[in-house]
Symmetry: C3
Subunit: 279 residues, 3 copies
């Protein structure tokens, strides 16, 4: 079979109130009647390319074969290009990505081993400046890729290295201190950091820790699971995406820390003098 | 095959928090196991028939064959009728509509060329006054239509001209002025107007414009695409549904104008004296 | 065919903003490529096991064959067990349930006639304490059950009677008074009570009623359908799930009563002296 493999995965900032995502689904359904459509999320914060890129990166290891149709596109209508990228899903099947060339796709493609080929999409015939690109450009392209058409049929192939990239998540390690960007605050208030356990080890962290956020230091426990926390205690744990994250049993940790995605926090060895037993 | 073509398209005001839309999906899935279910949106503002009718009208040109199951139904339990309508999708395939006869469907049916036949649905056997009509009336009817049953099997055929219609969107054109209803404020704050480029031409508009909304006049630029705007400038452009819309690069235009769906705005030639260069 | 019957039904508190539900869908799609995935709702209030259990109980009579994948799991990472339960859908087809053993599933299983078999799920190989159980435990188990694998392949079979149960909804009947828990406030503000028409009859209620909520008594009409109400009048009716519910035509009844899910209200005979005609 030339195509028809797997799902079309949708990730956008279209929200759920308007019919935007529904119309994109309908276009895919009409042009690829046998494709399963899987919504990853359509509620990326409006125009927040970085948040969309991070969500896609967290999701992509779990996607099978198919086509990722991702649209968070503050530059719609500008000279930014529309791209399609060929890659491999984590399970080895073909996985294509379609979306704006604004960095939205870059980390997810890295996560599955990099691009094998890429193309700038041709604008659809008769398109006006006020197109709804999800409906008029990206959905048709995703359906065609799902059906097995090659990248070369959709536009001009390019060197994947020219694709736009976002600034890498910020994480710096010094002795006793990890300084990291807050990547994501989830529905439950957990604050995921750009740091990973390897950064923690490189900083020589261990024992009692504190997190400095919004100008205040908070004692935190290093726990192996959220469930070890109780009461109002804050904890640092390795989350299900392999990142360090700050959690709290009873309250949203991000609210306790007063942090949002994009802020910077420190995780460091706790000043312990005041807590050492007087020996 | 008598039926089984295309998708069942869902548009409701059931929201996403309760299980209403999920139960409707489950009923369709059980009774039409091979039908694809495509959510257009389930977050039409509660009881807002007009908003639902407009969203469906914007979406319907992009739907393929299948059945539209639309429910925004403040009159549930009253004498309002439940209807099914046969029409043609934009691509020529059969497209049925099922929903309350309260005007929700009228413009979408117009948009795809009008009704070819219609029927009032028979109430299901054993139904109580407190039915959940989406679950008990509309979903079963949609599944039966999808399976290929004729309208006559579902109820009494009627002249489609007797179906309830909503008041047409308000748009009046005079020399130099287009007065139009705000049809829709989308997630990004763009304000779609009932006016179209033909109205603008009929009013002889050109050059510098202003929009009067909520008692205030705002300078706007006539642009061909959202992307031409920058800073806090307001612009009028032809949107992806072919309507005039007011947008702003940096802020939600509807907030700047202080308008909501249903309000009336003027688009008119700008009083230019104060801005003409002194020659 | 050993498996492959029906749908995988998703009910979680993952919300729609993060990609949690999307990743679970993707895992099911990859492991059970022919399963239809039906979202019941993913917006159960965070960690609210009781609200999730009630929503699932309201939905389950309308589900056909398949697998219910339900996750509202404040105890993730603790000693709470993951379970799979075999039952029968209302239409007689096989219906399995997968989720945490915290009571979430108990009433829905009762509703479809009880468990026929149950098993504690084995933890997946190589799992860490910080797993995302929906993705790593429940979705794979749901896909395997959908494919026709027996419970015994997924873990250790148990007596279904050992499964955790929630406290039953509170409803007490005395002469002239029904005292009942508010089970649910829906999107439209209707307040569903734990009481049913049989409770009303047992209390000998009839004629004029009042509802006491948040320390205040409100006159209510006993109506057979929401549509009989007008203006600001409150009404009690039998809702589409067979419960007594309080509704109001013009406003959200729960706001008028100042009640939330979990509160207790009285429905009782109205003190009528002041309203009797002076004969």
């Amino acid at each position: 079979m030339a195509g028809g493999l797997g799902s079309v995965f949708l990730l956008t900032d279209y929200g759920h109130t308007d019919e935007f995502a529904g119309v994109v689904r309908a276009v895919v359904a009409r042009r690829a009647p046998d494709a399963r459509i899987v919504d990853i999320t359509n509620d990326v914060p409006a125009f927040d390319v970085r948040a969309g890129a991070l969500a896609l990166t967290r999701a992509v290891p779990y996607l099978g074969a198919g086509v990722v149709l991702a649209v968070v596109d503050p530059g719609v209508g500008t000279a930014r290009r529309a791209v399609a990228v060929a890659a491999r899903a984590a399970d080895g099947g073909p996985l294509h990505f379609v979306g704006p060339d604004n960095g939205l796709l870059c980390w997810a493609i890295d996560e599955v081993g990099g691009a094998r080929a890429a193309a700038f999409l041709r604008a659809p015939a008769g398109s006006s400046p006020a197109t709804f690109d999800g409906r008029d450009v990206f959905a048709p392209a995703a359906a065609r890729l799902w059906q097995g058409e090659p990248l070369t049929a959709l536009g001009t192939t390019i060197d994947p290295d020219v694709l736009v990239r976002l600034d890498a998540p910020r994480c710096t390690v010094t002795a006793g201190v990890v300084e990291a960007e807050v990547l994501w605050v989830d529905r439950f208030g957990n604050a995921q950091l750009a740091a990973r356990p390897g950064d923690e080890r490189a900083a020589g962290l261990g024992g009692d820790l504190e997190v400095v956020a919004a100008g205040r230091a908070h004692n935190v426990r290093r726990v192996s699971a959220f469930a070890e926390l109780d009461g109002d205690a804050l904890g640092v744990f390795t989350d299900a995406n392999g990142h360090l994250a700050v959690a709290c049993h009873r309250q949203p940790a991000a609210a306790v820390l007063d942090v949002h995605a994009g802020d910077t926090v420190l995780v460091r060895r706790r000043a312990t003098a005041r807590e050492e037993p007087q020996g």
